[in-house]
Amino acid sequence: MLAESLGLSAILFVIGVIGVLTRRNAIIIFLCVELMLNAVNLTFVALSRYYGMGGQVFVLFVMTVAAAEAAVGLAIIISIFRHKQTVDLRNINVMKG
């Protein structure tokens, strides 16, 4: 089932990319990034049947990084919301120059 797993992983990753590119709600963009990380995890697990346990260990690291990323990213979103009263990216353009 390697090809099916990799195909499913690619499709989920594409859905995540399309979500990041088409949505403007910062929280939904964040959730799409989590979906992309999940798709990559599926690739690791599927290939770990053929290349040893290292893939599954790496999935644990990816989960840790995702947890750290969620904590810091949501703290940033909260502090942006405190200043702008919105999480819509149309209104958040201080870095646009």
Partner: protein, 183 residues
Amino acid sequence: MDNYGLFYQFHFYLFGIIAIVSAVTFVTRRSPVAAAMWLVVTMFCLAALYVMLDAQFIAAMQVLLYAGAIMVIFLFVIMLLNLGEASDVTDIRGIWGKLLAGFVGLVLLAEVGVLSRTGIPSGQYVVGRDYLSHQLATYGAVGAIARPLYQDYSLAFELTSVLLLVAIAGAVILGRKEPNDAR
């Protein structure tokens, strides 16, 4: 290991299709709460697929960490910022954003066409056919992943604790109210 029964294949495709459908539903929901709930469905389907791919411990961590902890943080922030209802104006980008997304989607889906011809890997790094089931039978579902984690990857494991410490400090500092911001 390469011969799968009909029962196995049926459930693999079932969970895969549910994962794709709920992921599509997830990116098209306007309300953040509904989107988060559909993402939880996708994560549960992925956990089921991990069990079928002989990664029971990863499946448990998927449910506990992703569907449990991380999604609860997201829902907590949505609740805290009172973003539960969908906004009146749609937050989906205009025609250029959709065109860009469609183009990237086509390019990445071309990869799926390439992947559909993926065979079973071979070469010097490929482990034996019953390697994983042997590891699971010898050390158990947790031991099989704990041994490489604490032996081969122990440095990376220790560095992960530094990462988490930095993340905690960063989250606390970012979430703190500024001292002159007296409200």
